[in-house]
Amino acid sequence: MSRIVENSKQKVLAVLVLLIVTGTSLGQPGKFTVEYYLRADTTTKTMPDGKIIAMWGFALDSAFGAEDGVVTVPGPLLTVPNDKKHLVINLDNNLGVPVSIVIPSQINTTMVPVKFTDDKGRQRIRSFTHETEPNNTEAVIYEWKNFRPGTYLYHSGSHPAVQVQMGLYGCLKKDVEKVKGKNVPNVAYKQGNNLVTYDADVVLCFSEIDPALHNAVATGNYGPGKAMTSTINYKPKYFLINGEPYSSGLPPLPAGSPNQQVLIRFVNAGLETHVPVLQGFHMNVVAEDGHKYRYDREQYSLILPAHKTKDAIIVPAAAGTYPVYDRRLRLTNAGASPGGMLTYLNVTND
């Protein structure tokens, strides 16, 4: 709180606002809350080699039960507008197992772990936070107060070794709320008077697929005593950026115009470390895990471990398509090349 408000007058106001917000009942958010309706559901992804992968994903619905959204992996990119302080996600679960949503690095939320008793009588954690049971008749609410600006990953907090890999993840962003008391757009980070502003932004969400695991889960062959008992033998065959492995004709990602400040939001939703390399630029890496660095780091590559987010600014000098790829050379679609984690940033003249 004290990081956001800058003088005592605002502090009093903020306390009043907080009282008003907390006074509203859950599900009836106030003026400072943005609300989304997500549905966990099944989908499939067709790989460039024709292989169809059973996936789990999130869809963005217009209301609970509307089921009018499309299930995607990664899930919908969620934005917390910078005039909103709080985020509410109403979750609908059409999967056969309990799911949930967590946003690591956002601390203003109440997380009540869910335990189960295993066959040896031990209490073990199944979920980092409260769960949404299958076929719930009412939305289960996940709430984050005073959402911190930055780039984040949301994902299922239930049995995450399986559910994240199955596709229950997505990206989330928020800009800085106020600069010197005023609401200014396109400020990604603020540290004192030091701002990170941008004209255009692009998300690069890295993840992998191990088809054997997906098949085992989808066919009921995953779990204790079944054909696949754990993810210990994780062997990914497909390597995705924004849910797509490279194949001929993959459309490039819009990334602003020449001389603009283009913010690249690197997110790793997979299980492996990747090292994205940007060809044609040094970038200024400005933040990590939603926290601004004190000083920019000028580099053309970055180490992106599992669940890391890193933000970088480039200022393209000229229009063009610029490759970005995983220098850990996950550049294959189940053995066939080219493929994998290669995409292009498309810088166009307005």
């Binding site: 000083y295 790829y325 294959t332 053995g335 090349s337």
Partner: protein, 424 residues
């Protein structure tokens, strides 16, 4: 632990080093480079050997149509140079070269590739030209099917000397005194899955599945330990010309140029002292232009990431060991760069009788720097200047083997030489 490692390594190393020293003279301690700004490279195949007896089919960039080499020639250019790299392709697949961190590259070639212009198989050509706008350490590698072609060996290092550089009077890596050094060394780190190379040799290209990649050999500058310590350009390793044997005197500053050439991260670890990482991807770690390396980081290990480069400064004086490394009496004169508070402090250990010892090949017979002691016949002999040897290696310790045989792999030795020993 480390002493045990050293002993074993040195015994295994002995024969190779004897042969090497006999036939090629003293081991060089410098970066072997090829000066630009124009380079004529040929992509061709050849074989490398590994200390466990392996021989593997490789693809490499050869200089001026010469022998295939792994890694490719270390290109040496000056800031502001217009660098031109002409590529002839003698392989049966298209190849190319990318230069990450260098921008404004004009590429010409037979075909359009996914990352750059490519040279067609069996005699095709390509050419790349750019201004070396920033000093530093860089990498180059094939931008054509790099998952396979980098593994096959199409990778090398590029050094851009700063404007302020002079090879004798101003050895700087960047345009700032924070990057000054007395000697420089290259650490281009790669790994290998022999199965890929065996499949390639059998022509089973379609059966190579890089998702099952499982490296069992680890390299510095294209060699596995203990070959890393053999001289550069030894005729014993005709396709692996580059060694890695850092040497320095107490008080010297040595520059370490790290290049992540393979596809895995390697936590590289110096014994003897931490090193100071001063740059990454060809940029000083600076808070502001002209601020020097004011954001430099003292590293116990440095995560050398694939495609990434890093520069570090290492220093050693024996500071705070608590005893006089020269075995001085209190009234003896000081050595250059000697750590004064320990001057004349006695060696804290009563040395066992030599009859109760076994001897490593690099033990001088004395614990003191620059002093040779008596050794039983046939022992020692690889420490001609009575220096100190420190093992430098990947701290992912499984990477210190050659196909499951310890010691080997991503490892070499730093030699602290006594003052006055010539290092070149």
């Amino acid at each position: 632990m480390n002493r045990m490692k050293s002993k074993t390594i040195m015994r295994l190393t002995s024969l190779a080093m004897v042969l090497a020293w006999i036939f090629t003279g003293p081991t060089q301690a410098k970066i072997e480079t090829v000066e630009g700004p124009t380079f004529n490279l040929t992509a061709k195949d050849g074989f490398i050997t590994t200390p466990d007896g392996g021989a593997y089919l490789m693809w490499g960039y050869a200089l001026n149509g010469g022998t295939m080499q792994y890694p490719g020639p270390t290109m040496d250019v000056n800031e502001g140079d217009t660098v031109t790299v002409n590529l002839i392709n003698q392989l049966s697949v298209p190849v190319s070269i990318v230069f990450p961190g260098n921008v404004g590259i004009t590429a010409a070639g037979d075909s359009n590739g996914l990352l750059t212009k490519e040279a067609d198989p069996n005699g095709g050509t390509a050419s790349y030209s750019f201004t070396a706008a920033h000093p530093g350490t860089y990498i180059y590698y094939s931008g054509t099917n790099p998952a396979l072609q980098v593994e096959m060996g199409l990778v090398g290092a590029l050094i851009v000397r700063p404007q302020s550089y002079h090879p004798v009077t101003k050895k700087w890596a960047y345009n700032h005194t924070d990057s000054r050094y007395d000697y420089e060394y290259l650490f281009l780190l790669t790994e290998m899955d022999p199965v890929v190379h065996e499949m390639a040799q059998c022509g089973k290209w379609d059966e190579i599945d890089l998702t099952t990649y499982w490296p069992v050999l680890w390299f510095i500058n294209g060699r596995n330990a203990p070959d890393t310590m053999m001289p550069a350009n030894t005729p014993l390793l005709p396709t692996q010309p580059y060694n890695c044997l850092p040497r320095m005197h107490p008080g010297d500053r040595i520059l370490l140029r790290f290049v992540g050439g393979g596809r895995d991260l390697h936590p590289f670890h110096p014994h003897g002292n931490n090193f100071l990482q001063i740059a990454r991807d060809g940029r000083l770690l600076s808070s502001a232009p002209a601020a020097g390396a004011d954001l430099a980081v003292s590293n116990f290990t440095l995560a050398v990431a694939p495609g990434q480069t890093a520069d570090a400064i290492f220093e050693w004086t024996g500071e705070k060991l608590g005893w006089d490394i020269y075995g001085h009496d209190v009234n003896d004169p000081m050595q250059p760069n000697e750590y004064a508070p320990d001057h004349g402090k006695p060696f804290p250990v009563m040395l066992p009788d030599k009859k109760n010892l076994t001897f490593g090949a690099t033990y001088s017979g004395s614990p003191f720097l620059g002093l040779q002691g008596d050794l039983p016949p046939g022992e020692g002999g690889f420490n001609v200047n009575a220096g100190y040897f420190f093992m430098w290696h990947s701290h992912n310790e499984k990477e210190m083997v050659n196909y499951d045989i310890f010691p080997g792999g991503m490892m070499t030795m730093l030699i602290i030489e006594p003052n006055g020993v010539k290092i070149e």
